[in-house]
């Protein structure tokens, strides 16, 4: 069996950076707490030690978990018994980080403390006496810089050595006499129910009345009572609750260590991060700065830089260069006409339509990665909290949504950092309203083909997403299932730093690559299916290849469903089919339209690819089409993620159903009311739209009932 070494430490202390450096992996690193939400394993690259697995864990502040991903880390450390722990400590924040160290030390697992970011500590002019720290903690302490790959092999090999020798960690620290006495008595009562090396830790957890540990121990009642007496006695003596007693004792002990091992260059001045925060989170400037940042990102990605590149790919590469070249090549080798049609009208028209948007996605991902890596995105969660709270979500819901701008699947998974289950469910339900990378081509297509690339269309898609989240928040909060205040927002903010080129590019590439891969697999497959279904049909009772897509199978199928969408303004079968294939992957909306409308045109001049598309939509119906596709049920992959995170079929169906209905209602209102205002008369659709708007208003305005009286009065008094 391989030796397992776990990386444990505070959130954002650099565990994943170290993991990547040790194992040569390419895990995603971000500058905010909670980037890693699952444990990941990799092989240590070392000449001396073979067969060593490094386990990267989500960050934890303590072994008493608060959020779901903290539970994952703690359970791993306690139940899976890794052979050694490398405890990563952020050297620029020694005091708080050592708090976890004191707890890990009690687990009895061989441990090495790696003090990370030593380069920054030195740059700040601070001093950490590592030898002294090692002496005080009772375990090897090694200074490292995970980013610069300094000292990391030494730390890993030291841990491997300890693991092989199986030297259990014995904590050196002692609490105050009263507390030590109580813990010893509990240890005595536990007797041989617990292994020796775990005894102290278990006794401390019992003292803290940790429910999970008590359950696992399954003590009989008389023993429980005797333990309770000891705890009670100690609480009365020390005038605090047992958990706080332990916490305070830990911090007291840490200050005693710090005093001897850590010298801060005495500067009471504000740090650069504090200064930036003064401006960026200023009460007047915060929101305008955020809106400006988001606008700039979308403007850059969709309207300007991204579009120049995408236009070139679409019009020149997939318009003038590849199709004619491919055509003459296929002609020269004498390919059958149907195969030629499959390749040109199916695959190139479909996959090409999607690939053309990759440059835009890359620009978007690059911009977001920059904002993330410098530390700004964590602030946005804070800024948005006040607003999100008004409609029942917490600022923490923003992070899943932010990640969701890349792809909904990791976005939905990121909801794990939300403590409160109600808040988490609601976040999962609304996260996919934010346009993900795959929806970007849809947005770009509509804005390019129908709005002549108007500057406001792309950012408006983003704001439609936010508005959908806000409305849904308010509406859902007023239902019985979601009532109750969101958990108070508490989140550590990372220090600002200059974006690291490697991190930013990796983040951009990783997200972009998954789209390119999708284009080559699932979308390629879908385009082939769509091409077959659209170019074959039944004529005179026989299945034949048809000249006009309107005679194809797909046209018949789509035509049967299309009336459902007619009230939204796009009852053409092509749009219906595109929406349905969008469930497989949202880029399919574009590739399908590419096949169904690009058909005749690509071969002719290749320039005005989307001319046919433009002629079959009006501005209004196009916007309604866009909104529906942005808000309706996400792709299957994201639905799967919803299912996993909800862990409940009913909730999953509810989420999907809600999203689709919501999308339908919004699109219907946009189209019908738009028609009314542009002077197209009053019809049944208009009446329906007005009813829907009235219903919306009712759901928004109706009083909030379920709030418990106590909570309400607290709110009022504040």
């Amino acid at each position: 069996m391989p030796t397992k070494i776990a990386l444990a430490g505070n959130p954002n202390s650099g565990k994943t950076t170290l993991f990547n450096a040790l194992t040569g992996s390419n895990q995603y690193v971000g500058n905010w707490p909670g980037v890693t939400i699952e444990k990941k394993e990799g092989k240590l690259r070392s000449d001396t030690y073979k067969d060593i697995t490094i386990v990267d864990l989500p960050g934890i502040y303590s072994l008493s978990p608060y959020t779901l991903e903290e539970v994952i880390a703690r359970d791993y450390l306690i139940t899976e018994n890794p052979d050694a722990i490398i405890n990563i400590v952020d050297g620029t924040n020694l005091e708080r980080n050592l708090y976890l160290t004191t707890q890990l030390a009690e687990l009895g697992i061989p441990m090495v403390v790696a003090v990370n970011m030593m380069d920054i500590v030195e740059k700040n002019g601070d001093r950490i006496n590592l030898d002294k720290l090692s002496e005080k903690l009772g375990c090897p302490v090694i200074g490292i810089s995970a980013l610069r790959k300094a000292g990391i092999t030494e730390a890993a090999e030291k841990a491997a050595e300890l693991a092989n020798k199986k030297v259990p960690m014995t904590p050196k620290h002692r609490f105050s006499d009263e507390l030590e006495h109580a813990i010893e008595s509990i240890e005595g009562l536990l007797g041989d129910r617990v292994e020796d090396k775990n005894k102290r830790w278990t006794a401390i957890k019992v003292f803290e009345r940790d429910i999970k540990i008590m359950e696992r121990l399954d003590l009989d009642d008389s023993l429980k009572e005797r333990i309770e007496n000891i705890i009670d006695g100690c609480e009365t003596d020390m005038d605090d609750d047992s958990e706080s007693i332990i916490t305070n004792e830990r911090y007291l002990y840490i200050s005693s260590i710090i005093k001897d091992c850590y010298r801060r260059k005495s500067n009471k001045k504000m740090t650069t991060s504090d200064k930036i925060d003064r401006i960026v989170t200023n009460r007047w400037l915060a929101l305008p700065i955020f809106a400006l940042a988001m606008f700039a990102v979308y403007y850059l990605a969709v309207t300007t830089v991204g579009t120049w590149m995408t236009d070139w790919t679409n019009d020149v590469l997939f318009g003038e260069i590849i199709p004619p070249a491919m055509e003459s090549f296929l002609d020269s080798i004498g390919t059958a006409p149907w195969l030629q049609s499959l390749i040109l009208d199916g695959i190139i028209a479909g996959v090409g339509a999607v690939l053309g948007f990759i440059p835009q996605m890359l620009v978007l991902f690059l911009a977001l990665a920059l904002l993330e890596d410098c530390g700004y995105m964590a602030r946005v969660a804070f800024i948005m909290d006040r607003i999100f709270r008004k409609f029942g979500l917490s600022g923490k819901s923003f992070i899943p949504m932010l990640i969701g701008t890349g792809c909904g699947v990791p976005g939905i998974m990121a909801s794990r950092t939300i403590e409160n289950e109600r808040d988490r469910r609601m976040t999962i339900m609304v996260t996919t309203f934010i346009p993900c990378g795959a929806k970007l081509p849809v947005i770009a297509l509509i804005s390019g083909a129908l709005f002549n690339g108007a500057w406001w269309v792309a950012p408006s898609a983003y704001f439609v997403g936010i508005a959908a989240i806000i409305f849904s928040g308010i509406i859902l909060k007023k239902t019985r299932m979601f009532s109750g205040d969101p958990a108070p927002f508490v989140m550590e903010l990372p220090p600002y730093h200059r974006p690291v080129a490697g991190n930013v590019l990796r983040s951009m590439w990783e997200r972009g690559w998954s789209f390119i891969k999708k284009a080559g697999t699932i979308i390629l497959l879908s385009t082939i299916v769509v091409w077959f279904a659209s170019s074959f049909g039944i004529v005179d009772g026989r299945i034949v290849m048809v000249d006009d897509v309107n005679d194809g199978f797909l046209s018949k199928i789509g035509g049967a469903i299309a009336p459902v969408f007619a009230p939204l303004g796009w009852g053409q079968w092509q749009a219906t089919v595109a929406t349905i294939t969008g469930l497989v992957a949202k880029e399919n909306v574009v590739s399908t339209l590419g096949i169904l409308y690009g058909f005749a045109e690509v071969a002719e001049d290749g320039f005005e690819i989307w001319g046919l598309l433009a002629s079959s939509f009006t501005v209004l119906s196009a916007y309604s089409f866009l909104v529906f596709n942005l808000l309706c049920a996400p792709c299957f992959a994201a639905i799967g993620a919803i299912r996993r995170e909800m862990n409940n079929t009913k909730w999953t169906l509810f989420a999907i159903g809600y999203q689709t209905l919501f999308a339908y209602a919004v699109s219907l209102s946009i189209y019908q009311l738009g028609m009314l205002f542009t002077g197209n008369g009053f019809g049944i659709g208009t009446a329906a739209a007005i009813l829907i708007v009235a219903l919306f208003l009712y759901l928004l305005m109706r009083p909030y009932r379920e709030r418990p009286i106590e909570a309400a009065s607290v709110q009022a008094s504040m």
Partner: protein, 69 residues
Amino acid sequence: MPLIMARQGEERLIRKIGGKAELKKHLENLGFVVGGTVTVISEIGGNVIVNVKNSRIAISREMACRILV
């Protein structure tokens, strides 16, 4: 007085932490301990960013009301 009333940039001593046991524990794990110091860096609609034990923590108004300094 509650933390939200503390002036920006002023270092203050934490006197009491209220709220649900679970959340209190979380705050303690993050470095909010009675007797420790806290400095408000920035405030927006009652939500504050504070410096505790050299790290920056954002907390919402509901919570900031329950930390007495």
